[in-house]
């Protein structure tokens, strides 16, 4: 007797398999994305925040981590330089600064903020995902170039954490930093600090990264009131 497998059923099998993969991926995303389920990341963060407020000791790593810092023009780099004064470079001994390709100013500022500090650092230049005022029509192509460069960069250096404060490139870096977590390879925590300039509304980057960041810090109370996962910490800069 001849085996007869009708084509539609093969296609149906394929379709079902694809649907299952997509469903699993979505489930995985739900569990790893801090802004959604994230394994109770929000609750844990709130608990840690409370501990710190009460002046209790915080858990510390062993040190010698590679910290990825995203810089960007328009005041972001200057503010990041202020934030980095609060970071123990003996603990985060290696720094990887991600700088936009048209941002020579930030390169100079890295030299200044790193002067006399322990450990070592390198600067990686990536194409801008979107320049200020760039037409949205040409944004996908420039974002793709930026994405390819950032993927290569993260694969080569494998940072232990990402710190960013709002330039457009940080959205790309955060998305790429989540890939190893989605694939259950490595958890790269993302810490986002919304700019001091944002008093009442989040920046566009902030609204996106709110879904991706493990810790989301705002510097004005009105933002914390609107975004429950945000930690309000005044006078950081």
């Amino acid at each position: 007797m001849e085996m007869h497998v009708p084509l539609p059923s093969l296609a149906a099998c394929g379709g079902a398999a694809a649907a299952a993969v997509v469903a699993l991926l979505l489930l995985r995303l739900y569990f790893v994305l801090p802004g959604l389920g994230g394994g109770g990341a929000g609750v844990a963060a709130a608990r840690r925040q409370q501990r710190r407020r009460r002046g209790k000791a915080v858990a510390r790593g062993t040190g010698d981590t590679l910290l990825c810092v995203v810089l960007g023009s328009g005041g972001h780099t200057a503010e990041m330089a202020r934030l980095l004064r609060g970071v123990d470079f003996e603990r985060h001994r290696r720094r990887l600064y991600v700088v936009g390709s048209d941002d020579a100013l930030s390169v100079g500022q890295v030299g200044e903020l790193e002067r006399g500090r322990p450990g070592d650092y390198r600067i990686a230049v990536v194409p801008r995902s979107r320049a200020v005022g760039q037409p949205w029509r040409s944004t996908p192509a420039s974002a793709a170039r930026c994405l390819a460069r950032v993927v290569a960069l993260m694969y080569r250096h494998r940072p232990d954490a990402v710190l960013c404060n709002g330039p457009a490139n940080c959205v790309v870096v955060c998305l790429v930093a989540l890939l190893p977590r989605i694939l259950a390879i490595k958890r790269i925590p993302i810490v986002y600090v919304e700019s001091f300039a944002r008093v009442a509304t989040l920046s566009l980057s902030g609204r996106i990264v709110y879904l991706l960041a493990d810790r989301f810090v705002v510097q004005w109370p009105a933002l914390a009131a609107q975004y429950p996962r945000a930690e309000y910490i005044p006078h950081l800069v």
């Binding site: 840690r48 710190r52 915080v58 858990a59 510390r60 790593g61 981590t65 910290l67 023009s73 328009g74 005041g75 200057a78 503010e79 202020r82 934030l83 980095l84 004064r85 609060g86 970071v87 123990d88 603990r91 985060h92 232990d160 954490a161 710190l163 958890r187 925590p189 810490v191 600090v193 700019s195 001091f196 300039a197 944002r198 008093v199 009442a200 509304t201 493990d214 810790r215 810090v217 004005w220 930690e231 910490i233 005044p234 006078h235 950081l236 800069v237």
Partner: protein, 166 residues
């Protein structure tokens, strides 16, 4: 006594024009300021002080497009008048200088105004529009402001330590 005016990294025509107006020079002279330094950025062409500014108002006025070390200029000043960008405002407040912030209406979504207004509510700086800047100076709006609380960025270090310890 000297005044440092800064428009930041872009330009701010209305502010540069406002600090070149005779009534602004008169307000400076009246308050004992004799030196005016204006960082104009892209608005350098708008810097047109009155012809006999030194003789008439006792003020020497100097313009610069950009400066290498904005902090140095702020340190030298007794009053800072700046656009309401976060960078300039922080530089001025952190230096402990009396500050008048002028929001740049021309910028997208006018979010400079929110920051300036919030800081003015706390009494840390004065806010003025280009049109009433001379009036703000002659009325001494910059006097009696609160010192801005010291910066403490250590919580960011703590958060990074906590997250990398997981």
């Amino acid at each position: 006594m000297s005044v440092y005016v800064t428009v930041g990294s872009t330009g701010f025509d209305a502010l540069v024009q406002a600090v070149c107006a005779p009534e602004f020079m008169r307000a400076l002279g009246g308050r004992g300021f004799w030196r005016l330094v204006v960082q104009c950025g892209a608005s350098l062409a708008r810097f047109e002080p009155p012809p006999a500014v030194r003789e008439e108002f006792g003020v020497t006025a100097t313009a610069l497009a950009y400066v290498d070390r904005p902090q140095w200029h702020i340190e030298q000043a007794d009053l800072v008048i700046c656009h309401a960008g976060a960078g300039s405002i922080l530089d001025a407040l952190r230096a402990g200088k009396p500050t008048i912030a002028v929001p740049n209406r021309a910028l997208a979504d006018d979010h400079q105004r929110e920051l300036a207004r919030e800081l003015a509510r706390g009494g840390y700086l004065a806010v003025a529009e280009p049109e009433d800047l001379a009036q703000a100076v002659s009325a001494g709006a910059y006097a009696g402001l609160q010192p801005y609380p010291r910066a403490d960025p250590r919580p960011i270090g703590d958060i990074l330590d906590e997250e990398t310890a997981l």
